[in-house]
Symmetry: C2
Subunit: 79 residues, 2 copies
């Protein structure tokens, strides 16, 4: 089972992307953890260290980051 | 079966995103057509009409467009 982390910040772009993406993926092949950075600000550093520049973004366990549309920069999330 | 179109232009960002995305999706739920706009320039208009601003992008059959990372703008693809 592959693992991935979907980072978002609750913005409309994020919520839409999350909904579309979770509808597409094969949940038997990949386990996606959803992290709301607005509510879990202590995870912003983890996201940045993984290469997340903006949200929403999906970090894959091979290290690749898929930035999907553009909701907010990490600076905006940090507030 | 849902349908979607993945537009790309053969760039490294595009090819990487295509590879990652096609690995994630549930092919029993969604049928993804891959269109290489560098080779099929006659489809650039279709892509723009669907709301594609840059490639790689995934256009869903509900009209939503997921722009994934950033390989090239449509103007760059048009050349």
């Amino acid at each position: 089972m592959k693992k991935a982390t979907f980072y978002h910040a609750g913005c409309p772009v994020c919520v839409n992307a999350e909904h579309e993406l979770l509808n597409l993926v094969d949940s038997s092949k990949i386990d996606i953890e959803v992290v709301h950075l607005g509510e879990q600000k202590n995870k912003i550093g983890d996201a940045e260290n993984s290469g997340v520049k903006s949200v929403p973004a999906l970090v894959l366990d091979n290290g690749n980051v898929l930035h999907i549309n553009h909701g907010a920069t990490m600076a905006e999330v940090r507030g």
